[in-house]
């Protein structure tokens, strides 16, 4: 595994989340994050597990500033990014997020999907952007499909394009929101392989997933989300093998019963 061991080590965290609150609904009656704390060290791979609705996606969307937080602080590299005075677009450009439903742009080719941000956000010339994009597509094994439209690709291929689209911007932090949940079982492997490779290269990653086998194997730290907070966090062997909290045990029991561990 890469990077420092579990928990915020002596190095300053790359991502620092403190007291994060987020609720939805007209009167904010549906509280999803209830004062959540989380630190992610550079090069660390943190896997978020928890039941549906436990706030994994909401946490990732708040970190990527796709949602406005109700309270609390998110810091990236020691800088508060939840401050409304900062340039949110510039912050988003430093992070990559990959969604469960791929969200490729259907009107653009694979290549144009990947070059969009390099050209429009980072100001690269078309030729330079395409060179970078093709190299990135090569990495995810889809250079040959650069001219295709997303709906001509399989789900696994689409998700790999989505990962390339995020990686091409040289993000300091990658967020993955259940990126294999919409894939056929035989296509899950090709996407998880890519995540393992990224972690091997030292990419800092926060991964929400239901793939417990992958969590056990790839995570530096597993965080179990429950009640809008991180209820239990630690090395995967401990959290997945010998959890302290009753709620964690209960959650894992259900996963095992469903044949997913």
């Amino acid at each position: 595994m890469s990077g420092p061991a579990a928990g915020p080590g002596p190095t300053a965290p790359l991502l620092h989340v403190e007291g994060l609150r987020k609720a939805f609904g007209r009167r904010r009656e549906n509280v999803v994050l209830d004062g959540l704390d989380l630190d992610v060290a550079p090069h660390e791979v943190v896997v978020l597990i928890g039941a549906s609705g436990s706030g994994k996606s909401t946490l990732l969307r708040c970190v990527d500033l796709l949602e406005t937080v109700d309270d609390g602080v998110v810091e990236l590299d020691g800088r508060e990014i939840t401050d409304p005075r900062i340039d949110a677009d510039a912050v988003r450009a430093r992070m990559g997020i990959v969604f469960q439903s791929f969200n490729l742009f259907p009107h653009l080719t694979v290549l144009d999907n990947v070059t969009l941000a390099p050209r429009r956000v980072h100001g690269l010339a078309r030729a330079d952007a395409e060179e970078r994009a093709l190299a990135m597509l090569e990495r995810v094994g889809l250079r040959a499909r650069a001219g295709a439209h997303p709906d001509e690709l399989s789900g696994g291929q689409q998700q790999r394009v989505a990962i390339a689209r995020a990686l091409v911007n040289d993000p300091v932090l990658m967020l993955f929101d259940e990126v294999t949940s919409a894939l056929d079982p035989e296509l899950v492997g090709e996407v998880l392989d890519l995540l393992r490779e990224l972690s091997g290269e030292g990419m800092t990653m926060v991964i929400a997933t239901h793939e417990m086998g992958f969590a056990r194997q790839a995570a530096d730290r597993v965080c179990f989300l429950d009640g809008g907070r991180v209820l239990e966090a630690g090395p995967p062997e401990q959290v997945l093998g010998d959890p302290v909290e009753a709620r964690t045990r209960q959650f894992l029991r259900r996963i095992i019963d469903a044949g997913r561990l």
Binding site: P106, L116, G141, D151, E190, L194
Partner: protein
Amino acid sequence: MTSGTSSWTPSAWTPSARELERAAYRRRRTTRSVVLAAASTSVVAVALGLALVGAPGWPRVRDSFLRWDAARDALPDVALGLWLNLRVFVVVAVAMLVIGLLVAVLRTLPGPVFWPVRALATAYVDVFRGIPLLVLLYLVGFGVPGLRLQGVPTDATVLGGVALTLSYSAYVAEVFRAGIESVHPSQRAAARSLGLTSGQALRLVVLPQAVRRVVPPLLNDLASLIKDSGLISVLGLPLDAVRYAQIWQAQLANYTPYVVAGVLFMLVTIPMTRLTDALSRRYGYLPGGGHL
């Protein structure tokens, strides 16, 4: 690294006897269907034709609506009128698409900051979609010159075009808005997550998808506009195709000029529909086929 699609060499194949038999059966069915459809269509057409021709009043109707000499006499003027329709159509179509898109975008701007802009755009749609076109034509065509303001055009064609643009851009704005709102919010989120500004996300991701989706309803409004473009004749000169037909109808005491105008309009709108269909097939992707 993960590979692309796996590839294999398909085995050599010649259709089996069973498949050949099935194909022959399908061909026979197709032939049968075509023959049946052609026959039943002909029967209905002939029946309708006979009913029309056999109607007690048919000779009089034919003489009133379908006289060759009347058509020949009226055609040059009606065609001249159509030229006005076409010119007004082109200018108003461009203006209504631009203004309609702008109003739609203003209506969909999020957040409390843009409330006044949204309210203004909504009021624009409410007002100009609510007023009957004829009333709007009179208000703009006669009311505006009546103000005797410096520098304001008094030409009937220009003012008529302005009234048409006001009315049609309100309709078109709602079509565009429906298109914008049909693009799934996750598309905007994906664009923003890459660092694109909200303006870039709208321009580069949302609008291209929205516009492709609303081409068919837009075409509806365009076909409607080309006919309504003639309404500016109510402001006086110049005359459009229908107005010329009206004049010839009065002169010849015969309705054939109206039929001539109708045929000419169809000759313009039908190719326009086919052209747009071809364009959207060529440049469109299949909406609903992709994941959102």
